[in-house]
Symmetry: C2
Subunit: 407 residues, 2 copies
């Protein structure tokens, strides 16, 4: 017997037939002798509709009212799933965020879970009842409804699994697991049976949007075993687990890409102490995240600084730098939104040399120029022209022997 | 300066443009120097959709889950109206039933309000903030969401007006007031400027579905001045008030009709003590409401009993009586769903004789046969064949001099 949290995303509860399917899956787990709690998202499309209402009424809507409005989507699904379970003869009841209670901080629209009361739910699970918890929401310090930001139901599920001391948190979605890369680009990409939290985090943060980043951070911190699997197929998914649990460590777990960044180069800034601060403090004050940073070797007492920002922040970043021109003292700014970031991720890199070298050589062999490089302990990322994205991903996937045929 | 509760029904908040219109109306009342609290229904169609979901998943759905699901409709509107008010520069915040708190008993799906915490809302109104309260809902003794039954937002508004000690409760709807009868049948029906609680109650209970009956009962009990008016036109509506406030009392306030009942006659039951109990106790045990009851004079030791039940209960009532046949001892049962109940209502009847006589004579002059009669202090109701409904309503409306031209 195990205790399991099952989380179903918006496409898994998109209509009444799918909700019935969810109920059957949950009941099957209970019939297998497990204690089960469920976390649900809003029916697909509902959250967008509610967000649209708020935006239409006021572009600068009050985040507290936004939360009160959009949190209803999950409340509807929770009630409906409870009814569907009861119809199958399975005892169940819905729980809204404030009823559990899922306590969060007061940052409406992107609140963080601070604690979850698990005792009452554990009692009920022991008596055979399935709690169906509305995801994505909690209650803030002022007793108002908060939401956790898009994809927040993943975090709700992981946090609930931690609070309930669950053995596993199964995230049901519309893909059947985590792949070595995007199967739309590499059809023979391989589904991973296991991946470490660290690898999942790196993949999540560079564009493999299966799990919300914060949910993976939380799972790692609380050591919650997470499984990503399909609600439409009856096959095992990918387990996201502690490094010790991954027996056969591949050197590289996967290749990720992101076309969400833009490159900015500030030309001929004076090469003096404090120049980096002069460039980046104004951006940070404008709440613009900077990612890859490259500073060239100085020539004639000046240097070029290249970095990336989110594509949607590019215009703001350029305005911001122009305003600080006299302080920074550059000659010109060059910007390019047509770039892609490619990342090779794997915990095996810690003990294996040559991973970066393989990457650089593979790209060079295809005539792909590298515009910037960043590395972490388990990741190498490069910036290339966006037009090479698919070519580069396929070449790297083959180079690291990740193609299915190679297994 | 007055303190006003403004309630907007589903058609008044049916889309974003109408929600903006509601916000403008509310702000105008605040700009007039009033303290205003708002109660809202779900956007038109939303509640039906949510009810449909529950029914599709399970014909015998759990009323507690049903409540959790359908109460979200009003929560959405409350948040959106608060946002629309803020967009106009008017301070506002939404309140869900559990936040206020609107405490109810535990009868899910048709809960009764037991108390409303008004202090916090009064404080905020004094500071210029408009509370926008989700109607139709409360919180039960077990901390779960309850709903008050269809039309329950009217009751929410009246109960809130009582709790806030408001000077008036304005119910905005898609009609512009209470008419002397249904204007679809009598185009020159007259809008009443005032009507007493008692009259409104009798009209509400016989089919003039402008206000939920329970809201009128509560207004009468708590002496809340209620105004029914249109959210689309800028004209005064009808005030529902205490009898003393109605200066020019008409003898008859209005003519109502209902085609929701069916007639059942139990033939030749023994004329003995306890026979009424033998007929009606089984019906009451089956939770079937009986309305008009007529017992003929006995002949040959037997009598006929005629009564009406709700049309949707007719089949069940007949089955119920057949099962009790040996105990009752009738010869046959005759049923007729094609009947209409016509009611003449007016507090003036208390002091004026001849109201019933005028009714009987008017119907007789048109050759309309009366199948049953019941009376209360301020109402006379008769049962006639349904085909005469419009003819009878028009004739009575003229006979009591209610036509507009007669004013």
């Amino acid at each position: 017997m195990a205790r399991i949290v099952m989380k179903f995303g918006g496409t898994s509860v998109a209509d009444l037939d799918r909700i019935k399917n969810v109920a059957r899956r949950v009941k099957a787990e209970v019939d297998n002798g497990n204690e089960v709690a469920v976390v649900v998202s809003a029916m697909a499309g509902v959250t967008n509709q509610l967000v649209g209402y708020c935006q239409s009424l006021s572009p600068l809507f009050d985040a507290r009212e936004y939360d009160a409005v959009v949190a209803t989507g999950e409340q509807v699904t929770a009630g409906l799933v409870a009814i569907a379970l009861q119809e199958l003869g399975q005892e169940a009841r819905s729980w809204q965020g404030w009823q559990v209670a899922v306590e969060t901080n007061g940052e409406h629209g992107k609140a963080r879970i601070e604690s979850i009361e698990g005792e009452e739910l554990i009692e009920r699970m022991k008596l055979g009842q399935v709690p169906v918890v509305a995801g994505f929401q909690g209650i803030g310090p002022d007793n108002r409804v908060t939401t956790l930001g898009r994809g927040g139901s993943d975090t709700s599920a992981v946090a609930l699994a931690a609070a309930l001391k669950a053995d596993q948190c199964d995230i049901y979605t519309d893909v059947d697991g985590i792949y070595t890369t995007d199967p739309r680009i590499v059809p023979n990409a391989k589904k991973l049976s296991k991946i470490t939290y660290e690898e999942m985090l790196e993949l999540a943060s560079v564009g493999a949007k299966v799990l919300q980043t914060r949910s993976v951070e939380l799972a790692m911190k609380e050591r919650v075993r997470v499984q990503v699997l399909s609600s439409f197929a009856d096959i095992p998914g990918t387990l996201v687990v502690d490094e010790e649990e991954v027996v056969e460590k591949e050197i590289v777990a996967g290749i990720a890409y992101s076309r969400d960044e833009a490159k900015i180069t500030v030309r001929r800034v004076p090469d003096r102490p404090g120049i980096a601060a002069a460039v980046f403090v104004p951006l940070s004050e404008a709440n613009i995240n900077v990612d890859m940073i490259v500073q060239n070797v100085a020539e004639d007492g000046t240097t070029d600084m290249t970095f990336t920002v989110g594509k949607t922040d590019m215009a703001r970043a350029l305005r911001c730098l122009e305003q600080a021109k006299s302080e920074i003292g550059f000659t010109e700014i060059i910007s390019d939104p047509n770039v892609a970031k490619l990342s090779v991720v794997g915990v095996g890199m810690r003990s294996h040399a040559g991973v970066a070298g393989t990457m650089f050589k593979t790209l060079a062999d295809r005539g792909i120029n590298i515009q910037a490089i960043t590395t972490s302990e388990i990741k190498v990322s490069v910036l290339v022209a966006a037009e090479y994205t698919e070519l580069a991903v396929r070449a790297l996937h083959t180079a690291y022997e990740l193609d299915t045929s190679a297994c």
